[in-house]
Symmetry: C2
Subunit: 116 residues, 2 copies
């Protein structure tokens, strides 16, 4: 279902997800999808803004989509309920990527995946 | 600051703001701006989805923008704090729509509610 370069926003603190986004870009992704449902939507917007303003100034918001999913509720015997979702597509031009406060040779991810 | 065709999302229930959006379109607006800050962002998305799915199927989301405002806090002696915002631009194609203030009655909503 979820693509490899997706960050699903849940109940953790904002910086957890910010780090996840930065790690994906450092692993060589050009696009990252930030997805959230219901109340986590505000946090998704926060994650994007913190990532962009504090760490990756050349990050672009390519697209923002909102929609409604219908989910079957376990508690109510499978009754369908409507759940709002947001998907924010971030993209960065890898050639010019800079990360504020880091040296160029430092991999962010433990295990040292190579960026291209 | 706020344009006349803006709906600012606060702490009221979703249906309050849905009604506000529908009223603006009924008054002849082609575009409505739904704006929210911080935790109200999720509610803004909910307002848009409810308006579109339940009341105005031909409503289009023209644009979604997110940004960060810097606001001076009264409590902390004017210290600046970052506040995330969303602005969702809704538009409806009103081919048969009359201009604002005219007396012709045109049903804007499928299902046949009439404008005044």
């Amino acid at each position: 279902m979820a693509r490899d370069n997706s960050v699903l926003i849940g109940k953790k603190t904002v910086m957890n997800y910010v780090l996840a986004c930065i790690s994906l870009f450092h692993a060589g992704e050009n696009e990252v999808f930030v997805k959230a449902r219901c109340r986590a939507i505000s946090r998704a917007v926060n994650v994007v803004e913190v990532t962009r303003r504090r760490f990756m100034p050349d990050l672009k918001i390519h697209e923002i989509g909102i929609s409604t999913d219908q989910l079957a509720s376990f508690q109510e015997g499978g009754a369908l309920s409507n759940v709002i979702t947001i998907e924010i597509t971030l993209e960065v031009n890898q050639k010019n990527t800079t990360l504020k406060g880091s040296t160029a040779t430092t991999p962010l991810i433990q295990g040292g995946q190579e960026t291209e």
